[in-house]
Amino acid sequence: MKILIVDDSKAMRMIVCRTLKQTDFSGFTVIEAENGIDALNKIASESPDLVLSDWNMPEMKGIDLLKRVRDSGNNVRFGFITSESSLETKALAHESGADFLVTKPFTAGSMQAALDPILT
């Protein structure tokens, strides 16, 4: 399984990767993108099985990245990992085709709980 982590913060990409390794999931490889355009390119070239994206990023917000992906007919599994926690944000993510939204700070347990329904 190939997982694409999209976040403009290198620190957060590292933390998401570290947390994934603390879950019960194994046998995955991680690729990274630092913004929405980079992510679109890597989705096209690398065909990840799962995209984990930040919400607030410069140039292209995570929600716009998701819309671009869905508009292109790509149904890759897509989740947000974000400090956004409002009901409005969660509703918009769901309506736009996100599989889940994990709020920062997260633990291996909360990550596992979000991924279990779509990866097992």
């Binding site: 913060s9 290198k10 933390i15 607030n56 400090s83 956004e84 409002s86 709020t103 920062k104 700070p105």
Partner: protein, 157 residues
């Protein structure tokens, strides 16, 4: 429009940072007057109407250990920053991310979207529009392997 926010509890902060860093973190409420060091960073949180909902002010030691603990940067980088009086670029970037995530300490109403509006990284950084309707709660934050620093949660009464 002024809407009071509930006090943020020490245990809540400790647990929040424990989840964030994956390290043991304790927060202990202290008297504001014990917060003797001037802020080296102030994070300002606003709602969709640019109305300030809350602020976090940290002394240099606190902001340095928060930044270091996020990606477990060696303690030497913290010591260097304390000696020079300035945060290194990676500590500053990490601290910004910690403040960004800490928005959820102020998101006590899920229906109200609160965002990190600005972080002022400067010695004697001044909080925004402090008035008598604001309350400061001071905490000593102790992070496993990194030691302690002082942090103030500033919110409306």
């Amino acid at each position: 429009m002024s809407i009071a926010s509930p006090a943020i509890l020490a245990d809540e902060i400790g647990k929040f940072m424990n989840h964030l860093f994956g390290l043991k973190v304790s927060a202990t409420k202290i008297k504001s007057e014990e917060h003797v060091h001037p802020p080296a960073a102030v994070a300002i949180y606003t709602d969709g109407n640019d109305f300030v909902r809350g602020q976090i002010a940290c002394d240099l030691r606190c902001v340095a250990i928060l930044g270091a603990a996020l990606t477990q940067i060696p303690m030497g980088a913290v010591a260097d920053s304390l000696e020079s009086g300035e945060l290194s670029a990676n500590l500053r970037a990490n601290a910004y991310e910690v403040f960004n995530i800490s928005v959820n300490l102020f998101s006590y109403r899920p229906s109200r979207r609160v965002v990190l509006s600005e972080v002022r990284f400067e010695q004697n950084a001044a909080p925004a529009e402090l008035q008598s309707s604001w309350k400061r709660d001071a905490f000593q934050i102790n992070i496993e392997r990194y030691g302690s620093g002082h942090l103030q949660m500033i919110h409306r009464i």
